[in-house]
C-alpha cells in the first residue's frame, strides 16, 4: 500500500513543481513587460493565468484524493498539507503577476513616465526569493527556506521607501499622478509576492520539521 502512496506523492510533487514553474515565469514576464513596456507580453501573462487556475484546482483535488484514499501520517501527511497551502500561495502569486502585467496596459495609455525607483532591482530580489523558496521545496532544505524568510524584511523596506518616493514625486508634479499611482501599486504587488514566497518557505519548513513558524518573526531576525 505504501508503494501506491509513494507514487501518488511523487506525482503530486511533480504537478506542484509544474505549477510553480509557470507561476515563476509569469512573474518574470510581468516584470519584463513593465521594464520594456511590452503590452503583448503583458497580455500573454494575463491569458496564461487561466492555466494556472486550472492547475491549482487539479493539485487541490489530487491532495484531497491522497488524503482520502491513503490516510497518510507523519511526514507524508505534512507533505500533503503543505502542498495544499503552497498550491494556494502559488495561485495567488499568479494573480499578482497578472495585476502587475495589467499595469503595463494602463501605463501605456498614459504619458510615459520614468519609474522613480529601481524597479528592476526590486523585481529581481522578489523573483530570487520565489526561486529560492521553490529550491528549498525541491531540495527539502529548511536552511534555504529560512534565508527566504529573512529576505522578506528587505522587500518590505524597499516598499516603504517607494511610498515616500511616490509621495514626493506626486507633489513635485501632480500631472503625473496616475502613472505614479500605478507604480505604487506595482511596488505593493511585488511586496505581496515576496510575502507569499515567504509563506511558501514557511510551509516548506513545516513540511520538513513539523514546526509552524508563521507569526514568529524573531525566528528569522538577522541578528543571530
Amino acid at each position: 500500500m505504501s508503494k501506491h502512496l509513494e507514487v501518488e506523492l511523487s506525482k503530486l510533487k511533480k504537478k506542484l513543481l509544474s505549477l510553480s514553474s509557470i507561476v515563476e515565469e509569469s512573474v518574470y514576464k510581468a516584470a519584463k513587460a513593465i521594464s520594456d513596456r511590452d503590452a503583448i507580453l503583458a497580455k500573454s501573462v494575463v491569458e496564461g493565468d487561466h492555466d494556472v487556475d486550472l492547475m491549482e484546482v487539479e493539485v487541490e483535488e489530487d491532495c484531497l484524493k491522497a488524503l482520502a484514499l491513503y490516510q497518510p501520517v507523519a511526514m507524508d501527511l505534512r507533505f500533503v498539507v503543505a502542498t495544499l497551502k503552497i498550491n494556494n500561495d502559488l495561485e495567488r502569486i499568479g494573480d499578482l503577476a497578472v495585476n502587475i502585467a495589467e499595469r503595463v496596459i494602463f501605463l501605456n495609455q498614459e504619458k510615459p513616465v520614468e519609474i522613480p525607483f529601481d524597479f528592476e532591482e526590486m523585481a529581481r530580489k522578489t523573483r530570487s526569493m520565489l526561486a529560492r523558496a521553490l529550491d528549498s521545496l525541491i531540495q527539502y532544505d529548511s536552511l534555504i527556506a529560512q534565508n527566504v524568510c529573512r529576505a522578506d524584511d528587505e522587500i518590505d523596506e524597499i516598499n516603504r521607501q517607494v511610498y515616500q518616493i511616490i509621495y514626493r514625486e506626486i507633489r513635485k508634479d501632480p500631472d503625473r499622478v496616475i502613472p505614479l499611482i500605478h507604480y505604487l501599486s506595482i511596488s505593493r504587488h511585488l511586496e505581496r509576492i515576496a510575502d507569499y514566497a515567504t509563506n511558501i518557505a514557511e510551509d516548506v519548513i513545516y513540511m520538513i520539521e513539523g514546526r509552524i513558524v508563521r507569526h514568529k518573526p524573531e525566528e528569522f531576525s538577522t541578528e543571530d
Binding site: 511523487s10 514553474s21 526561486a131
Partner: protein, 596 residues
Amino acid sequence: MKKKPLFWQLYPSLLVISVGSVVLVAVLAVIAFRSFWLEKVEEDLVFRVDTLAGEIRTFGSLKNISQVKTLLDSGKKNSSYEILVLNSSGEVIAGNPIWENARGENLVSSDFKGALSDGAGRSVRVSLRKGKDFGEKVLFYSRSVDSGEHWILRGSVPLELVKKNLNIVYLEILAVIGGVIFLISIVGHLLARRISQPLTLLQKHTERIMQGDFSGRIFLESRDPAELHDLSEGVNALTKEIDHRLRTMKEQKDERDAVFASMREGVLAFDQKRTLRDLNDSAAEMLGLTRSRALGLSLEEVIRISELREFIDEGLQNQGASEREIRIFHPHEVDLHVRSSPLQDIAGLKKGVVIVLNDLTHLKRLETYRKDFVANVSHELKTPLTAIQGFAETLLSGGVSDQKQQNHFLGIIQKQASRLSRVIEDLLTLSSLEKGNQTVEKETQKIKPVLKAALESCSWKTLQEKIEISLECSETLEAQFNSSLLEQAVLNLLENALKYGSDGKKVELRAVLDAEGGKNEVKISVKDYGPGIAKEHLDRVFERFYRIEKSRSRQAGGTGLGLSIVKHIALLHGGRVHVESQVGAGCEFSLWLPSS
C-alpha cells in the same frame, strides 16, 4: 546446507576403507585361526584318547582299574583335558569322581552313542556337569576300548580355552584398528591440508580482488600439488589482466569525463522515466544546479522553465532529434539553443534523451551590436547629409534671395559638413584602433602635462557653461603611453562630463597611482555631479553609438563614438576602463594604465 570442509569429505571414506579392510582381514584371520585351533584341540584330544585307549587295552579287566586310574591321573596334571572310562551303560568306572554324572546324559550324548556303535564319536555340547565347565561348551570324544570288557574312553576339553586365546587376539586386533584410525586421522588431515591450504590461499586472493586490491599474487610451496600450482599461476595471470583492463577502462573514462566536463556546451541526459542521469559542469551552471544534488532528480525538479521542460518531454516521446531556441530566465536571462537527440542502448532501444545547450547570449548580443551599429552609422551619416542636401537644393533652386538667409543656410551646411567629417574621422580612428595597431608608440612620460593639454582644449566650454574643472595630479606621476592618444581619451571624457554632467557645475579630473588589484596602475578619473547613468546602461555606454537618451545627445552634437574610442585607447595600452554611477549622483569614468 553447509558445505563440508575437505578434511571431512576425505576422512570418513579413508577411515571406512582402512578400518573396513582391517576388520575384514581380521575377521578372516580370526575365522581361520579359530578353525585351526579347534582342529588342533580336537586332534589333540583324539590323540590322547586313542593313545590312552591303546595303553588301556593291554590291561583288559576290571582288576586293573587301579592301573587305569593311575594312568589317567598321570596324564591329568595341569591339563584341561579330562578323560573318563565309562562302561557301556554310561557309568563312570574311572576318572574324576566329579564327572560321575547322570548315566542318562552320557547315554544320550552322540559321542557316546557313536562310540558304542562305530567305535568312536565326537560331539560338542554345553556341559551340564557340576564343576568348572558347567554351562560352557565342551568337546567330547568317546572311543570304545576293546579289552575284554566293553569300555568307553571319553575325553573332553572345554572350548573355553580357545575362546580365551581368541579374546587376546581380538584385543590385539582392536588395538591395531585403533592405531589405524589414529594414523588415518593424521594422514588424512595432512593430505587434506595439502590440498586445502593452497585453496584457502586462492580464496583469500579472490577476496582481495573483490576489495579492489589487484596487487597480490599467490605463491605456493613446492610440495603443493602440481595442478594447484597451475591453477595459481592462472589466477595470478588473470589478476594481472583484470588489473590492467580496469586501469585502461578507468583511464578512458577519466578522459571522457574530462572532455565532458570541459565542454562549453551544456549536456544533460535524461532516461525514459524522466530522471536526470548525467550532466556536465556547463549545464549545471547554465541551469543554476549543483551537480551532486541534481543527479537522480526528476525533470520537474531540475528544469524550472516550462518551455524547456516541454521540449525535453517531446524529445522523450519522439524518435528523432529536434532543436529550438529558448530563452530562459532562471537563474540568468540567457538565450539558449537547445538540441535533443535520442539516447540509445547497444540493442538500439531508446533509453532516454541527450540535451545539448548552447549559450547564444553572447552571439545574440554581438548581433545586436552589429545591427545597432549599422543602424546608427547610417543614421549618423545620413542626418547631416540630408541637411546638406536639403539646404543646398533650396539654395540652388533660388528660393532664397535674402543674403542673410543664404549665409545662414550656408552656415548650416558648413556645420553639418564638419559634423559629418568629425563622425567619419572618429569612425576611422576607432577602426584603426580596433584593427589592433598594437605597435603604438609609447614613451615613459609625465601624466600631468597631458591632462593640462586636454583641459585647455575644452576651456571654452567651461567658460560658457560656468563649470569648474578641478585638476588633481602629482607632478611626478608618470607612465608609459602615447601622449596624443591619451590626450584624446581624456578630452573625450571631459567633453562628455561637460555635455551631460553639467547640472552639477563641477567636474573633477584626477590622476593617482592605484595599487589595488596587485599591480601598479595609473588611474585617471573624470567625475561629474550630473544626473548620473541608470544601471541598465552602465554595461553598454562604451559601445559604439550607444546613446542613453537619444534626443539629448543629438542636441549636444556628439558622434556617439567618444567612449568607444576611450575604451580602445585604454585597451591598446594594456589598461581598462570602467564607469561608476548612480541615478541622481553623477558619474565617475575611470581609465587605468599600467604604470611601467
